[in-house]
């Protein structure tokens, strides 16, 4: 009896998980399907079976340069992530290992900046970028995304570092490790998984960021988000081409996400799972 009940639960849970996963994944799947249709097919209405033509991909390739926005996306997302880590690691470290009365307040304040709608600061930021000549520059976008994601990076690292038990560091000191040996042999190996998760998640966040990247870039620094957007305006709507462009834009990050699943799940649960 007990056994059949658990099997039944398992089956139900599995089906439910698949249904939810399909619902969440469906828009992406439909994008991929549409990208494999001809343009008339794409406009025709709901249809799950495309004619499997690569026409749109070829058109996108010849009409537009994919490589430049791709490289821009890589440079901006990786660059902003590394910059964010350089700033956030010492910050999170200090707050986790030598907290003061104000640490909690500072963390809340950092997070509160994420509660504000981005549009609220669009005009001043746009003007600043214009005046400092940062519009449509990779450096400008890198710095912008670094600042946007910094609160989350600090929070994630802080929760990871907090999990490193103080007694282990004390044990290392008792065992004769100097500060440098403590960092190399004990702290870093224990902190690296957390840093890696944060790095991956932040690359994905930065890769997908579209509000600022689209508004602050035109051609030179435009990443893949802007590349997709550009297919939706000038010559009217071409669904199949738009879908092909989207698929090409999200493919790299999907692949990265797929290969780093384990690390990411750890990252997204904010270190709750040991």
């Amino acid at each position: 009896m007990a056994r059949s009940v658990t099997t039944k639960h398992k089956v139900i849970a599995t089906i439910a998980a698949w249904v939810v996963a399909l619902i969440i994944f469906f828009p992406i799947l439909y994008t991929i399907i549409t990208s494999l249709k001809t343009e008339p097919e794409a406009i025709a209405g709901f249809n799950l079976i495309p004619s499997f033509t690569l026409e749109s991909y070829i058109t996108v390739q010849t009409q537009r340069d994919y490589f430049t926005p791709f490289m821009n996306s890589v440079i901006i997302s990786v660059g902003s992530t590394i910059l964010a880590l350089i700033v956030a690691i010492p910050a999170a470290w200090a707050m986790a290992f030598s907290p003061t009365k104000r640490t909690k307040g500072i963390l809340m304040w950092m997070l509160s900046t994420k509660m504000m709608p981005a549009v609220a600061v669009l005009v001043p930021i746009y003007l600043l970028f214009r005046d400092f000549g940062l519009l449509d520059s990779r450096i400008g976008l890198t710095v912008m995304l670094m600042l946007i994601n910094l609160p989350i990076v600090v929070w994630m690292l802080y929760t990871y570092f907090r999990e490193i038990p103080g007694e282990i560091l004390e044990a290392a000191r008792m065992d004769g490790a100097g500060l440098w040996q403590e960092i190399v042999h004990v702290l870093t190996p224990m902190a690296v998984p957390g840093i890696a998760s944060t790095l991956l998640l932040n690359i994905i966040l930065a890769w997908n960021e579209s509000f600022w990247t689209i508004r602050l870039s035109t051609t030179n620094a435009a990443p893949l988000t802007a590349f997709i957007a550009s297919f939706s305006s000038p010559q009217g709507l071409f669904w199949a081409k738009l879908s092909a462009a989207s698929t090409m834009a999200i493919a790299p990050i999907l692949i990265l996400g797929w290969f780093s699943q384990k690390q990411l799940v750890r990252g997204l649960t904010f270190g709750a799972v040991k």
């Binding site: 004390e170 290392a172 000191r173 065992d175 004769g176 224990m190």
Partner: protein
């Protein structure tokens, strides 16, 4: 060698004067146990000796050398933490080898020592595992292994067994005692557990609010507690305290009698009481009684003494084992 001397050692955390001033002498090879209620400063004192905490005043000497300002590693002590504090990313072998690696010992010597320690601690089959793949008892043994390979002049233990279940605690207690007999190295051991304190210690240090109440051998503390606090703290179940007319008749403010020094009878005796709870442990029966005119009293009876809730029984204290205290709570010597 491993004699440790504390000279007016004090510790203040912010406003809190956790340890006002402690003088203590620990001889080479002794097994010293710190006991006391929660929050009395046992861990703090141990950490001061380890060098993990800076003293606010006073002096710490190891083998006659002043180490008050020395770094933890320079003191030649090894510590076993309550949480084990193993390095989670290193195998058992690497964990045990870590202090030797820090001491820049050469690899073949390290291997030899690690394997010898693993053999003593029954860890040979687990050397390549990570700490997360071990049971609580095995983790504790790894922590001990990491401490012994250094051949420290003294071991410091902070409640090392409190995360283990009762049966394993019993086994590990014997293993640590055994280790002490083999190594004959000074050990300082912090515990809450009466049994650990009584069975393992050469010398018990009873702490209360950061002060030493008494230092002595387990039996010495049991037989001749210096004051009410020690009398009530050492021994399980606790000593019964009786004041009022009975104490006055013995020329004391307070009289104390241990549960095992109360004679029990169903027919006659000095006091009469009603059984509230009878705990039958097999060899022993502990009776929790309400004694007329005195109040709650615990008495130890033999396993065959049949008594149940509501029974009336007679008690007679063994006057030769009576403890008497004056109005300051100090023991009155006969």
């Amino acid at each position: 060698m491993g004699s440790i001397t504390l000279n007016k050692v004090s510790k203040v955390f912010g406003e809190a004067n956790v340890i006002p001033s402690i003088d203590l002498e620990i001889n080479n090879g002794e097994f010293v146990v710190f006991v006391g209620p929660s929050g009395c400063g046992k861990s703090t004192l141990l950490r001061l000796i380890a060098g993990l905490e800076d003293v606010s005043g006073g002096q710490i000497m190891i083998d006659g050398k002043d180490v008050t300002q020395a770094a933890p590693a320079a003191r030649g002590l090894a510590m076993v933490f309550q949480s084990y504090a193993l390095y989670p990313h290193m195998s058992v072998r690497k964990n045990i080898a870590f202090p030797l690696k820090m001491a820049k010992m050469d690899q073949s010597a390290i291997d030899k020592k690690v394997e010898a320690a693993a053999k003593v601690l029954n860890l040979t089959d687990y050397l390549e595992r990570k700490p997360s793949q071990l049971s609580g008892g095995q983790r504790q043994r790894v922590a001990i292994g990491r401490a012994i390979v250094r051949e420290p002049s003294a071991f410091l233990f902070d409640e090392p067994l409190s995360n283990l279940d009762a049966a394993l605690r019993g086994t590990m207690r014997l293993e640590i005692s055994d280790l002490h007999n083999q190594l004959k190295t000074t050990m300082i051991y912090v515990t809450h557990d009466q049994v650990e304190a009584m069975t393992m210690a050469d010398k018990i240090v009873v702490l209360n609010r950061g002060n030493i109440e008494q230092v002595g051998s387990p039996l010495d503390l049991y037989k001749n507690p210096r004051n009410l606090f020690v009398a009530g703290f050492i021994g399980s179940p606790h000593m019964n305290f009786v004041d009022g007319a009975y104490a006055q008749s013995k020329n004391a403010k307070m009289a104390g009698i241990r549960p095992e020094h109360l004679g029990l009878s169903k027919d006659s005796g000095l006091w009469t009481g009603t059984v509230k709870v009878a705990e039958h442990l097999g060899a022993d029966t502990f009776l929790h009684l309400d004694v007329d005119g005195i109040g709650p009293v615990t008495a130890r009876a033999g396993g065959e003494f049949g008594a149940h809730h509501g029974d009336r029984v007679y008690l007679t204290p063994d006057e030769s084992k009576l403890h008497r205290f004056d109005d300051k709570g100090l023991t009155i010597r006969a």
